[in-house]
């Protein structure tokens, strides 16, 4: 459906996208995961025809997406990172202004506005000025504006930044509902838990390059270990830190140590035997399943929020 091939974009001496290739299929909830500045928004801007690539191509259903392409803009909705609304206007006025750009008939536009407002649960507030809305309501309206033309693909560029957990959940549910209706969703985030919860296919982007892509299972399979071992920081474990470092690489966090997989200790049992040997109490050891965070760490050598 959407195919990106060898896409490169430079801003002066900075390479924002470096020879990126991706394929996104119809109906997918595709996550683009990476830290701030990785190139997620730049890639989104190319998909929507907002930026012109230095090299490479994007095709949508085998048609080349050109810079400023009006046709592609009718098929793709875009939820920007910022709340891109006219604050002094009402929700309805905002929807009408943006919706009118799609050249829908009056009736169709009116129906679509009501549908969008209903989806984001703002129908009863449609005549209120946006500036009177809470942050979460603005985010929901931001989403509503993006689906007025009934898009085939919806690009969501970190649409939950600065949103309270309740509104975030509401937005997740709305997006999942849209995805169930057949809309392909491309979702950028640097929150691992969002990507894990929502996306059935993911790409990890770092420094303008795709470092891995596939389903969540595919990505987790790149790890040798499926579990993460963490040790709670106490006076006791701090005194054992040097000994832990003798057998594995250790990441130090505020309240925990994280044991990094080491080839010498392929089996958990070997690790636990060593912990027992150095006198580490078992109640200070936490074992959890591997996550995208571990995948990112494994692939890039650093944490996503570093």
């Amino acid at each position: 459906m959407l195919k990106i091939e060898n896409l490169t974009k430079n801003f002066g001496k900075i390479t924002a996208l470096n020879n990126i290739s991706l394929e996104i299929n119809s109906g997918e909830f595709f996550g683009l995961l990476g830290p701030n500045g990785a190139g997620k928004t730049t890639l989104m801007n190319h998909l929507i025809g907002f930026l012109k690539a230095d090299s490479g191509t994007i095709t949508y259903n085998d048609e080349l997406v050109k810079f400023g392409d009006k046709q592609i803009k009718r098929k793709i909705g875009y939820v920007p990172q910022e709340i891109a609304l006219y604050q002094e206007l009402t929700a309805y006025q905002n929807l009408k202004i943006f919706g009118s750009l799609f050249k829908l008939s009056k009736k169709e536009l009116s129906i679509n506005i009501d549908k969008a407002l209903e989806l984001v649960q703002l129908l009863d507030r449609k005549n209120s000025a946006v500036k009177e809305f809470s942050g979460g309501m603005k985010r929901r309206l931001n989403l509503a504006v993006s689906i007025l033309q009934s898009p085939e693909v919806l690009l969501c560029d970190e649409p939950t930044v600065g949103v309270d957990p309740q509104s975030r959940n509401a937005i997740f549910e709305m997006l999942q509902q849209l995805n169930k209706q057949g809309i392909t969703i491309i979702y950028t985030t640097h929150y691992m838990e969002e990507a894990e919860r929502l996306c059935n296919k993911l790409a990890i982007i770092d420094n303008g390059q795709i470092v891995a892509s596939g389903s969540l299972t595919d990505l987790l399979n790149t790890l040798d270990r499926k579990k993460t071992i963490k040790i709670i920081k106490t006076a006791e474990t701090e005194s054992l830190y040097d000994k832990l470092c003798e057998i594995a690489a250790v990441n130090v966090f505020d309240f925990k140590y994280e044991i990094i997989q080491n080839n010498e200790f392929q089996k958990d049992s070997q690790l636990y035997t060593y912990f027992e040997k150095i006198g580490l109490s078992s109640n200070l050891i936490e074992v959890s399943s591997a996550s995208l965070e571990d995948v990112f760490l494994h692939l890039t050598g650093r944490r996503i929020r570093d």
């Binding site: 929507i48 025809g49 907002f50 930026l51 012109k52 400023g68 009006k70 046709q71 803009k73 009718r74 875009y78 920007p80 990172q81 910022e82 709340i83 891109a84 609304l85 006219y86 604050q87 943006f98 750009l101 799609f102 050249k103 504006v145």
Partner: protein
Amino acid sequence: MFKKDLIRFMNDKTAMMLTFIVPIVLIIIFGNIFGGNNTSRGKAHVIFVNKSNSEIAKLIEAKLDSSSNIQLIKKYRVEGTDSILSFTEDKAMEYVRTGKHAAAVVFPSDFLLDTSATMNIKFYYDPRNEIESSIIQGGIQQTIFSQLPEIFPALLARQANNFLGETKANGFRNDMANMISSYFNIPKDSILKFASTKITSGLLKQTSSDSTKNSFIENLINFDSEQLVGKDLKNPQVTRIVGGWAMMFLLFTLTGIATSLFEEKQEGTLRRLLCMPVTRTEILLSKYLFSLSTGIIQLMVLFVFSWAIFDVDIFTNFTNLLIVIIISASAAVSFGMIITSHATSLSQANGVATLLILVMSAVGGAWFPTFLFPDWLQVVAKFTLTYWSVEAFQQIMWRQAELSAITLNLLILIAVTVIFNLYAINRFNKGKIF
């Protein structure tokens, strides 16, 4: 805390510009206009026709030629040819009527007859710039009084003769000289000479401060003034200034709208628009059309207000006024677009726009008539939008001129509009602005 405010201020280039650069630039302009810093004000240009055969008239003409206040224009180029002819009285009047010059001075054939006690001067003027007319009249009087004081005893003697009769007048002067000579033991000849000089000095003083119709001096120099333009205007003062001030506020309003693209960029709405099925040109054109409409409405409101409150005549030449309004508004919008296309932020755009608008208004004649400027500043004025627009408004409203009289003004404003807008659209389309 002080340091914090200082650092923030130093980092705010717009605040720095508005605090220091704008006032400095305006002080330079005002200084030049009102003669500060020893800079010379430009001469008032006046058409001059000498129809008199009098030697005195020729002498005065020579003195006026070297005047520091007045520049006599004696010849004109015949339109469409290279031939240069001397002004006739009719041609001079035509030039004043059409606004090519503010005034014409004619020394008629009866400028100063052998027995006349008065110098007759015809003065044709366009009171659009009253100050300019006053400067010309005052300059002529001053030149005559200061450069040719010997004329006055003769004129005074003639007046005394006319009033008392030659015999009585001579007797009066002799009696007075004899009396003073006998009481103060002073030679009679020097008393007569001194008395004449003193009267002349008094007259000069009187001239500079008193311009009442019945003053004695006006009996010596008779300005036969004829207003050629704007006789029927009900409120000439407001008619004169309304165009300039309207243009200045138009520039502020429309530049504000154009630079609102930066606000839309900051709010993210511009990017959202750019992600919708509209082209960059369409976005810019819609902004342009909105600005233009606002500008036209703003100007119309200002002119209707000046009509309703100050009785300024806007209806006699309404169609032409409307054309000037539309073209001026177009040019003002394009000015906003060019600022927007080069600024990197809203604050920078606002700072640069404020500086340029104030400077253009001051230099372009919105605040003061441009003839008050030094010659070099009058040349600079022609590089401002304000100059061409204000001149067009004055032609239309003051002398009810036809469009042909302001063709050059309109062509320049249209050219600026087209060039600025094409340039801005080109930059916007290439993504160089946003």
